[in-house]
């Protein structure tokens, strides 16, 4: 098998070193909210021009996968997604940390990320040309329904207080409309502030809504931020492995969901992990524990978001269409090196491509030892550092992180404003997640719907464009109905059962 020759090449000392360096750097950058994989890769691109293309690509891919994984640390330990991909990781990761299982949560996230990354990478290696077609079958209509599916998660997240959840989501949807509309070019809700023309940034909003309330809470509440673990507990690797194996089906399904969503340009890790989470919760036996520290939720989100890395490279390499923003940077780097992507790439540049894919798989595997070590250090640090030091440090990082998005102080203002808003709303019983879901998914839903409307209008068949002639949409709509109706049916049945008992 010729392909395994490339495996040997990927295993050369030089390539291993770049993979290791990339994973370490990426994990650290991902763990710091605001410092994104896109920026890290863009900074490293000029250095890769001095390397041979495969080594350069391996390092960029390693940074990327490391950064997506690193986002979990901040999500678990301080309830702040380090990257947008880790939004859903806060749902169960932080509650786990709060009950004293932060170390276990980090280890579970590591196992899930490695598994997801490997599944995505193996699918990239084996099924790229076939799977690339998925990207093409997904039209505006499907993006609209996919975003609606993501929004149904609000019903799940705000169980017991649906009205507040829906109000939060509406606020998020309104926030998503601020700025110049992509379709139509209207200027909306800027109130004459030109700083708002670009809209409310997702990353500053994430940092503000999630992190500031935690910071205020840390100051207001006596005692340590997280419980110190019993001495000599180690990584709890065996325990985490056991959990992952018992929940293997969830892990595999979430990885496949992540890969498929990753293939879709414009969807990305946040949607992948939300959809995977929703599916994991729907099928779980311990549904009521989800959102309160269920390991299954953590497994699903972390495997899904790392699977998007391999998935995103599928359209990038096969179609020349970047699946995610970091893919766009890597595609640009390929272009500058004179490498043409497209259907012929695997034949004409097979050596580079296969070496790169193997390198990416190796980098993903390296996340296990690297992640466990960095994770343990991060956990110990957060646990051992006194609050008087931890709070200003995290506060500093929130400012730095929101500034780094666009190198612009506007985003810091947005972050602080959202933080104060988030804290006030939290006190009134409105959680941050419905707002963030509205913000992240609003644009996708709106644009998808309006485009389907325009295209349907041009062809004189709007309903056909929106649903009737779109089999993939049928499947997504079916999932939406199941997600929304099943809890209703269940609660009605429960109420009836109670009534009979009485």
């Amino acid at each position: 098998m010729e392909i395994f020759g490339f495996l040997g090449e990927a295993l050369s000392a030089q390539n291993l070193m770049f993979a290791l360096l990339g994973v370490i750097g990426g994990t650290v950058i991902g763990a710091l909210p605001g410092l994104s994989a896109t920026m890290a890769i863009a900074v490293m691109v000029p250095f890769t021009f001095a390397l041979d293309p495969a080594s350069g690509l391996i390092m960029l891919g390693a940074i990327y996968t490391g950064a997506i994984y690193g986002g979990a640390f901040a999500a678990i330990l301080v309830n702040t997604p380090g990257t947008p991909s880790a939004i859903a990781t806060t749902f169960d990761g932080y509650p786990m940390a709060r009950r004293g299982d932060g170390d276990l949560a980090v280890t579970i996230a590591t196992i899930a990320s490695v598994t997801g990354g490997l599944v995505g990478g193996i699918l990239l290696l084996t099924l790229s040309p076939v799977l690339a077609q998925v990207a093409l079958r997904f039209g505006s209509t499907e993006y609209f329904w996919l975003a609606v599916l993501g929004l149904t998660l609000i019903a799940v997240l705000s169980e017991g207080n649906l009205v507040k959840g829906l109000m939060g989501a509406c606020l998020g949807l309104l926030l998503s409309m601020v700025g110049v509309a992509v379709v139509g070019g209207d200027v909306r809700f800027t109130f004459g502030q030109r700083e708002l023309l670009g809209g409310v940034g997702i990353i500053p909003a994430l940092i503000g809504l999630y992190c500031i309330p935690v910071l205020i809470d840390m100051v207001a509440r006596p005692g340590q931020h997280l419980e110190a673990p019993a001495a000599g507990r180690g990584f709890r690797l065996a325990e985490a492995m056991g959990i992952a194996i018992r929940d293997g089906w969830n892990l595999l399904r979430s990885s496949v969901i992540g890969t498929v969503v990753g293939i879709l340009p414009g969807a990305g890790g946040s949607i992948a992990s939300l959809v995977a989470y929703s599916e994991a919760r729907r099928t779980a036996r311990n549904q009521e524990e989800y959102g309160k520290g269920a390991s299954g939720g953590l497994l699903s989100t972390e495997s899904a978001n790392n699977a998007t890395v391999g998935g995103g490279f599928i359209p990038t390499l096969v179609l020349g269409i970047p699946g995610t923003p970091p893919d766009a940077v890597i595609l640009g780097a390929l272009l500058v090196q004179g490498i043409r992507t497209g259907p012929a790439l695997f034949e004409t540049q097979g050596q580079i491509v296969y070496t790169f894919i193997f390198g990416l798989l190796i980098a993903t595997a390296l996340m296990l030892p690297v992640g466990l070590l960095i994770g343990r250090y991060a956990f110990r640090f957060i646990v051992a550092t006194p609050k008087a030091l931890l709070v200003p440090l995290i506060a500093f990082m929130t400012v730095l992180g929101s500034f780094a998005v666009h190198n612009h102080p506007n985003d810091v203002v947005v972050m602080v404003a959202m933080g104060i808003l988030g804290w006030l709303l939290n006190r009134a019983g409105y959680g941050p997640s419905p707002i963030v879901l509205g913000l992240v998914l609003g644009q996708i839903a709106e644009q998808g719907f309006v485009r389907a409307w325009m295209i349907g209008g041009a062809r004189g068949d709007f309903l056909g464009q929106l649903i009737i002639n779109r089999p993939i949409s049928w499947a997504i709509v079916a999932l939406i109905l199941v997600t929304v109706c099943l809890p209703l049916v269940k609660s009605i049945r429960n109420r009836r059962a109670e009534g009979i008992r009485r």
Binding site: L35, T38, M39, A42, V43, V45, P46, F49, A135, L136, R137, F138, G139, S140, G179, V180, V182, V183, G184, G185, V187, R194, L197, G198, P265, G266, P315, L319, G320, I321, P322, P325, D327, A328, V329, I330, L331, G332, A333, L335, V336, G338, R340, G342, P343, L400, A404, H406, N407, H408, N410, Q443, Q447, R451, M454, I455, G457, A458, R459, G460
Partner: protein, 318 residues
């Protein structure tokens, strides 16, 4: 943070080097920050990356690329004149953006606030269909479009963007009525084309170059055919006066002294004349043009008049 670090590291190297050779070197004697007002990975970034090594070679100093995305470039351009005008901060500019934005919104700058020292290339508009499209030529496409006005859908990146302008210009010249469908970027726009959601796409020659055999380019908006696509006619050959695309230049803060502007213009012009650079750019689908500092103001006036008319039509159409 990392950018700053590399900047200072490169600066140290430059300092050591400078001490070893001439103590009072002419401009530039330290690395130059090159701000791209968009996310990395786009055409602005790629063309800057192509310039980077030639700049080091010709000017003896590094060009350090930074990104300041936001509001379609407006965040960066509205802050351009706040930088020190010492020649060590330069910024990429894009047309029609810097003309249309002040006409259609209040982006925080005026077109005339921006001092361009060189317009160095453009990505010519290209009308692209999928390889399996029934429209073999522009005539086929127009015949189909005229059969059912408005039923033909064409994707592009953004509203009031270069693609939107190209579509408007095409409608003006040919009399066809198309339905322009805006996407949030070139990648989703081309995905929609390949997936058959739209009938055609407005892109650039760079897009056509990136997609290879998956697409067929019906015509390009150039004066002469692009070296990369010898078989693709220009609109002009087919009888339509459409020449243009997204132009990219380099600007400096307004406080930059005259001789520094001239010197930067000369350096960029020299890169533009390098045969290796020309070859790399053309192979990626770019088309080079030379509008040095002395001609930039007149050229901008001409473009302002041109886009002003289109902006009125775009505004009126909505």
């Amino acid at each position: 943070m990392h950018i700053r670090f590399t900047a200072s590291a490169a600066g140290l190297v430059a300092l050591a080097f400078g001490l070893a050779t001439t103590p009072a070197a002419a401009f530039p004697d330290q690395p130059i920050n090159y701000i791209i007002p968009f996310d990395p990975g786009g055409e602005s970034d790629v063309s800057a990356r192509f310039q980077q090594p030639y700049f080091s070679k010709i000017a003896g100093q590094d060009l350090i690329i930074q990104y300041l995305p936001g509001a379609g470039g407006a965040s960066a351009w509205s802050g351009l004149n706040d930088y020190e005008g010492d020649g060590y901060t330069i910024m990429g500019t894009n047309l029609p953006h810097i003309i249309l934005q002040p006409l259609l919104q209040d982006p925080g700058y005026e077109t005339d606030d921006i001092v361009n020292v060189y317009i160095f290339h453009y990505t010519p508009d290209a009308l692209i269909v999928a390889a399996d499209s029934p429209h073999e030529t522009l005539e086929d496409f127009l015949a189909a479009a005229n059969e059912a006005p408005g039923a033909m859908t064409v994707s592009g990146s953004g509203t009031n963007s270069a693609n939107d302008v190209a579509n408007q210009l095409f409608e003006n010249e040919t009399g066809a009525v198309l339905t322009y469908i805006p996407y949030p970027g070139t990648a989703p726009s081309i995905t929609a084309l390949l997936g058959g959601e739209v009938d055609a796409a407005w892109g650039y020659t760079t897009v056509a170059a990136g997609q290879g055999d998956q697409v067929r380019t019906l015509a390009v908006a150039m004066e002469e055919r692009h070296s990369l696509f010898p078989d693709v006619p220009t609109f002009r050959e087919l009888g339509y006066e459409i020449v243009g695309g997204a132009y990219r230049g380099i600007a400096v803060p307004a406080s930059t002294p005259e001789e520094t502007r001239q010197e930067l213009s000369r350096l960029i012009g020299e890169i533009n004349a390098d045969p290796d650079f020309i070859q790399q750019m053309e192979e990626a689908g770019f088309a080079l043009i030379d509008v040095p500092y002395d001609e930039a103001a007149d050229w901008m006036e001409e473009r302002k008049a041109f886009y002003g008319e289109i902006a009125e039509q775009l505004g009126a159409g909505r």
